[in-house]
């Protein structure tokens, strides 16, 4: 990293949990190298710059912006537009910015249902006046503005153009470092066929140390029900491991800790829909004797869409539940 031309970097946290910021800290002492090479001009979680500080920067003057989180409200949308304008390289950083992540599972319920659950039909909420947040309301002191709560959660690339996508929940510190280092050095980070960076061109299965016995899955099981046999493919043991349909890059971390892959690195390269990809894979390992048994087997999966699209709902083909109900 050359120190003579100081770079500017920004980090922002939109609709996400903050784990991506932690993951950035996880690069450890190398943060000092980053600090040596670059000024952090904006990082709400670590520094005290405000939006108007960013607005004052010339357009395109931020060299690298790591934007984590999806876009759920108008504030996040505005900041996304702002950071896009100010940044030369905008990185959708982490599962939520890349593929919607867990917050985007809210796309399986309507905006109305979310407001009802939070402000009305909730045992721990006492709201006799049935007040709901509104973007605009009159107060004695004048007009009060609140960000508008959107109908859906969007990926960053739904609202602005993105230069790189770095998936993972959170992205692994090593991958983050490699990518950041390349960007600060002014190089293009190594990218897969679909332009994603900081991940493997293959799936988690490629990194998984477990072996297959090539047996059929007779029934689905869950983690609390048994202890998986070491060394043996978790999917074959009946755990709904998303490894086959998930982009590698994490090094099969969860699987090494006996936990099934939940799919946080998003769909494999060249795959449009992670859920469809997993359904395809499952159809190869299940072998029910009859249609009734097939339905019985499928009924053992609690929350199918939430399982197959846990981190990638808006990246899939259907993206969100229809808001006008439907009558399933």
């Amino acid at each position: 990293m050359s120190a003579n031309s100081r770079k500017r970097i920004a980090v922002f946290w939109a609709s996400s949990c903050g784990g991506c910021d932690i993951s950035l800290l996880e690069i450890g002492p190398r943060l000092l190298d980053v600090a040596a090479a670059a000024d952090i001009v904006f990082w709400p979680c670590a520094t005290d710059f405000k939006y108007h500080d960013v607005e004052k920067l010339p357009d395109g003057s931020i060299d690298v912006c790591l934007f984590n989180g999806g876009v759920r409200n108008s504030e996040q949308h505005e900041v996304a537009l702002l950071l896009r304008r100010k940044s030369r390289v905008l990185v959708a950083y982490g599962a939520c910015a890349a593929d919607g992540g867990i917050p985007a599972l809210a796309n399986l319920v309507s905006r109305r249902a979310i407001l009802d659950a939070v402000y009305h039909a909730n045992l721990s909420t006492d709201n006799p006046a049935a007040t709901e947040p509104r973007p605009l309301c009159a107060a004695p002191a004048g007009e009060l503005h609140l960000p508008e709560f959107y109908g859906q959660v969007y990926r960053l690339c739904d609202v602005v153009d993105v230069d790189h996508v770095l998936p993972g929940c959170p992205p692994q510190a090593e991958r983050v470092w490699e990518t950041l280092k390349a960007l600060l050095d002014g190089q293009a980070p190594e990218a897969g066929a679909d332009g994603r960076v900081g991940c493997s061109p293959r799936t988690v299965c490629d990194e998984c140390p477990r072996e297959k016995k090539l047996v059929r899955v007779e029934a689905f099981r869950r983690h609390h029900e048994f202890r998986p046999e070491p060394g043996w493919c978790l999917l074959e043991q009946g755990l709904l491991c998303m490894g086959p349909a998930t982009r590698g890059g994490c090094g099969a971390l969860c699987i090494r800790a006996d936990m099934r892959c939940e799919g946080c690195y998003g769909p494999p390269a060249g795959v449009a829909d992670q859920g469809a990809s997993m359904i395809g894979a499952l159809s190869g390992v299940l072998d029910p004797a009859s249609e009734e048994k097939a339905y019985a087997l499928v009924s053992q999966i609690p929350d199918p869409a939430g399982t197959f699209y846990r981190f990638s709902l808006p990246s899939g083909l259907l993206k969100a539940r229809r808001q006008d109900g439907g009558n399933p």
Partner: protein, 683 residues
């Protein structure tokens, strides 16, 4: 305009067929041709009265040459009729035949939609989809595989022997393997066979003579299927040869048999007799050498001593041999229905036997020397009970061990029963014979004669109610060994009590336990557990896995004549295959993109043909194209989209899908005056 996705040079020709009036009476083919002319990538569109006719094909060939077409879309009848025709025409013009696509606007449009506007719109949609798809087509080559000119026949019963004989007579090398020590299968156990009344042994011996004496035939008995590799054209089957124990005919066979201290149930005589551990099922069997039943033999050496120390070896080890063949004929036959203890009194009363057992009793060389007697007691009244283990009904018949019931008709038992009853009545006219049936299906040529004959002979027919099958009990008065209680639907549903000396159960036929065979060769199995042909009419003796043929009752219950016919059919199909020297296979194989395959091995498990393996160095999937049958299942389930099926890849199907769902342009109404007058529109 040009075809999309970087394929700028795509020039599609669209040819729309009137099919006389079959299409043009409903679909406005001229409007469709005009619409086609405006589709992206289309360089030429035209109609013809009959595209499949010689002039029609000539027009296609000419247009390809004149307009430099590199894709052809023919909108006509179903591709099952003329896809090959138009591909040939395309090839004639120098185009790869797989760059020619078919849009089915007759069977799936003009014949099923009456409304002209609707039919035309649909036809245009299908043409647009074919045009869009055609842009993504790539030339494909049919695979050509050499075929080894030899056939392995599995099973040495009448079907296997017939197939072996027919193949050998065409000069094809045949290896016949039989799992038991003797050839002949069930035919050897029969006595006289319908519809000729010949002795089964005579038919069998002639067949064995023809096969065993043939220089092109190699026979292995005591041969068990061990493993199988390879595929159509070059199957490599490993067979384990269990030693016979006897290498040379003993000078005094009887002395050797007498010397053996171990006895076993004589399976050949269906449990009606006992035999020694060293045995021969009957005189005149083939091979004539006795064999040792290793499950019974204790290796005491008494037989060796009686044989003077020569010709019997008790310490031989099994041997494995590999048999290579271009095709395989499966002729492993079937089993009889496994009666439960006490089912219709079987096993409970010695006077209840099966039809097959009765056949052994009628055989003068059989265990009773041809006398029909039970424990030495002569028989006066005999009953036959039909459909034991056939036409079973849920709730009436308890399921078999595997939880299933046999709902089908076993086909051969009715005629066998009539034939056997006739034989009984003519040999023992004083016998009284009763026939308990639900239906009588003497369906074959001359089969009904047996029914007529037993009617004349005075057999009494009693028709039972399948919901309340007859019950077999002991005679409370003790006068007769058995009493059959049943309702008779031929009268007025009267309750009858028929005392009998002997009850013969016409047991049905069931598939053998073929698990090993099914696993080794990946056979399709029908719901009745018999092996399943590709199509009952179009490809009745072929299995879906190429190079495998079905001979006889491995496919379902058959009588001797039918099994022979099926075996002859299988032999001629197998002969046609191996004599061709090589075979062409469809090019719709799966291919693995190694930059994407992550080695999850889900495809390996899912491939119905075992055509996918893992290359250990890269841990990636690799398709054996000779084994791939082109179903595309792996392409659908590969989670990385690393597998694509040639001719049906994601881009091709995706383009078709998108074109079908695109907004529909308004069709220009074409009046008959301004129609093309058959003129082609080029540009």
């Amino acid at each position: 305009m040009s075809g999309g996705n970087g394929n700028g040079s795509v020039r599609v020709g669209v040819f729309i067929c009137h099919c006389g009036g079959n299409i043009a009476d409903v679909v406005d083919v001229e409007a469709a041709a005009q619409a086609a002319a405006r589709m992206p990538g289309v360089a030429f569109s035209s109609t013809h009265m009959f595209c499949c006719s010689d002039p029609g094909q000539a027009m296609i060939v000419q247009a390809i040459r004149d307009h430099g077409l590199n894709r052809v879309v023919v909108a006509a009848c179903s591709p099952s009729l003329h896809e090959a025709t138009f591909r040939r025409a395309a090839a004639h013009a120098g185009l790869n035949p797989f760059l020619c696509l078919h849009a089915n606007i007759r069977e799936q449009v003009s014949w099923v939609v009456r409304d002209r506007a609707q039919a035309t719109r649909k036809a245009v949609r299908l043409i647009r989809a074919a045009v869009a798809r055609s842009a993504h087509l790539a030339p494909l080559e049919r695979r050509r595989l050499p075929i080894r000119p030899s056939v392995l026949v599995i099973g040495g019963g009448v079907a296997g022997l017939t197939a072996a004989r027919d193949l050998a007579s065409r000069g094809i090398e045949v290896t016949l393997i039989e799992s038991s020590p003797f050839l002949g299968g069930r035919l050897a156990q029969l006595y006289r066979i319908y519809p000729t009344g010949q002795f089964a042994r005579d038919v069998l011996n002639r067949l064995i003579r023809e096969v065993a004496g043939h220089p092109k035939v190699k026979i292995y008995t005591n041969a068990q299927l061990w493993s199988s590799e390879g595929f159509i054209g070059d199957f490599r089957t490993t067979v384990r040869l269990i030693p016979r124990g006897v290498t040379e005919e003993p000078a005094d066979l009887q002395a050797v048999l007498d010397a053996c201290p171990e006895e076993a149930v004589d399976q050949f005589n269906l449990g009606l007799a006992k035999r020694k551990a060293i045995y021969r099922p009957y005189d005149g069997c083939y091979p004539p050498l006795p064999a040792i039943d290793w499950r019974t033999c204790t290796r005491c050496g008494a037989c060796v001593e009686a044989a003077g120390g020569r010709g019997i070896q008790l310490d031989q080890e099994p041997e494995q041999i590999e048999i290579r063949s271009g095709a395989i004929v499966l002729a492993v036959g079937l089993d009889t229905y496994p009666l439960r203890h006490g089912e219709y009194g079987y096993g409970k009363f010695p006077e209840v036997i099966t039809l097959a057992q009765l056949n052994r009793l009628l055989d003068p060389t059989g265990p009773t020397g041809g006398r029909v007697e039970i424990r030495g007691r002569p028989v006066r009244r005999v009953g036959f009970l039909h459909c034991v283990g056939s036409l079973q009904r849920k709730g009436v018949h308890p399921p078999m061990r595997d939880g299933r019931i046999n709902e089908y008709c076993s086909r051969v038992c009715c005629t066998t029963t009539m034939h056997t009853a006739a034989e009984l009545k003519s040999r023992f006219p004083e016998l009284q014979v009763y026939d308990f049936h639900e239906h009588i299906r003497t369906y074959g040529r001359k089969h009904e004669n047996y029914y007529d004959r037993v009617c004349e002979q005075g057999v009494v027919f009693i028709r039972f109610d399948p919901a309340r099958p007859p019950r077999v009990e002991s005679d409370p008065k003790g006068e007769w060994p058995l009493v059959v209680r049943t309702v008779d639907r031929l009268t007025s549903g009267e309750e009858l009590e028929v005392p009998l000396d002997l009850l013969v159960l016409a047991t049905g036929l069931v598939a053998r336990d073929m698990k090993r065979l099914i696993d080794l060769y990946r056979c399709s199995v029908g719901p009745d557990r018999f092996l399943l042909e590709v199509h009952p009419k179009l490809r009745p003796v072929e299995l879906a896995s190429s190079g495998l043929f079905l001979a006889g009752s491995v496919q379902g219950p058959m009588d001797i004549a039918e099994a022979t016919a099926a075996a002859a059919a299988a032999a001629s199909k197998a002969a046609a295959l191996v004599c061709a020297g090589s075979i062409e296979l469809d090019p719709y194989v799966a291919r693995v993109d190694e930059t994407r395959c992550s080695g999850c091995r889900i495809c390996l498990q899912a491939c119905p043909f075992g055509a996918i393996a893992r290359r250990e160095e890269t841990r990636q999937a690799v398709v054996n194209e000779a084994l791939c049958m082109g179903c595309g299942t792996c392409a659908a389930l590969c989670p990385c989209n690393a597998i694509q099926q040639c001719g049906f890849d994601d881009r091709q199907i995706g383009a078709e899908l998108e074109a079908l769902l695109a907004p529909e342009p308004e069709l220009a109404a074409v009046s008959s005056q301004e129609a093309f007058d058959g003129k082609a529109q080029g540009r």
